[in-house]
Amino acid sequence: MGTTQAVLTVEGLRHRYGETVALDGVDLRVDPGECVALLGPNGAGKSTLVALAVGLLVPQHGTVRILGGDPRRAATRRRLGVAQQTLGFPNTLTVNELVTGAAVRGGRRPAAAGPILAELGLTDLAPRRVPKLSGGQKQRVQLAMALVTEPDLLILDEPTVGLDTMARRHFWQILARRRAQGTAVLVTTHLIEESAAVADRVVVLDRGRILADAPPQELVSRLPDRTVTARTGMDQAELERLPDVLSVRHEHDLVKIQTRSPEDLLRVLLDRDPALSELRVQDAGLEEAVVALTAGEEMAA
């Protein structure tokens, strides 16, 4: 990793709007082929970070580099593919014209649009204008516009909102193909479990600072909570008196016990109820890990 050039390098980024601090010292690196999920509550500073990365804002402190180049320069920005959730399309252009236009704006030949339209299943929709498209179809048009320039870095804002499960899977498959060719992906999302499944690294941003930057599995294992699930005859009060139990809840005819030392709990549990069955021990999910991170920050603040 040390020898390859990073696709995106962010160093010591600070940004404020008047009195409001949007970014408070952010460092970030995205390597070729990597997919990094940027998570965080509204107002965490995600939009500001993206605006700086795509060259729409001038950094007040710190630097942003894309393949070593300043994103304020046009030549650097042409190496970017950006899909923003809030983008609307002119009603007077067809899907084909939109994607062709994006190809030319990105310095490619108009013919580059054809294969991308096919890959995203938009060939039949190519002659249609935008008002006739569904939300998911518009989302795919956006992605086609971002991919048609063969960018080195894709910046995607909530790319799968409005897509059904099949479309979502197809979307990540298309991205996987690009990543295998070295395209880096920075994705901002609210869908934590989805990013756990696809991202190499999860970056948790809150109040302008990075609270965590690690592979999703590592973030989860940092959180010591485990969930013990079983079918048992023991009642709620009895379960709550067991050692190291944080909480107990019933789900259908199963019981779910939250604990930080599953080994101690299991020894006692199996001893007390010989008829116990369907036993399972699980990590907490990424969602719980992220919530714990941001909640801890709130208490410290």
């Binding site: 002119p90 704006r105 320039t149």
Partner: protein, 248 residues
Amino acid sequence: MSGMMRRLFGVELRDELRAIVREPTSLFFGILMPVGLFVLFNLLYGKDTTQGLSAGTAMVATFGTYGVITVAALQPGIGVAQDRDLGWLRMKRVSAVPIGISLTAKATAALLYGVGVLLLMGAGAAAFGTLHASGWALLRVALVLLLGSVPFTLFSVAVGFRFRTGAAIALLNAVLFPLAMLSGLWIPIQFLPSVVQKIAKFLPTYHLAQLGLAQLGHGTTVIHVLALVLTTVVAAGVAAMSYRHARI
């Protein structure tokens, strides 16, 4: 202009031309209405003669001004406002399209439609037998009107950077209609009340129409050119200021 800039301009211009021809309201207000009014007035009064000039020929200058100004004043500003509302201008900035290229494409598209409007009017007048001017004089009228539409495009863009789409449409139309009425673009200025004639001296549309008429052998030139140059300088300043404070 480098190859890349030429290609960018090409794709922007293509999109802008489509934005006019595929949008029923801009097609109607920008092209059909001015040409329709021209045809109507030409059928009614085209055979009359005022100050030795056939009314049908004079209308090429006056209604021509109205037609060219309509496209120049409405289309670019409404386009800028729409692009801002959609986030489309932001997308273009991210994809490294210089704002100057986008604006030039909008102005050029309006200019090309202006040419179309003038050609339709010229063809109409010729068909009704009311066109009595040399080809050279008509060409000069066209050049004057197209060049004179520049300040209106600048003003339009200034409005587009300042207001949202709905407000921009309302405001630009609210400015355009009285300008057309009071400058003698629909009814010849000499038939309007003297108070209107006095007001007209302060309106750029009046000076543009008069400059157009002068090409047909009707009046002076210098004062109108000066008025239009002054208008252009002011409009350019307003447009630059509006752009600097715009949220894109």
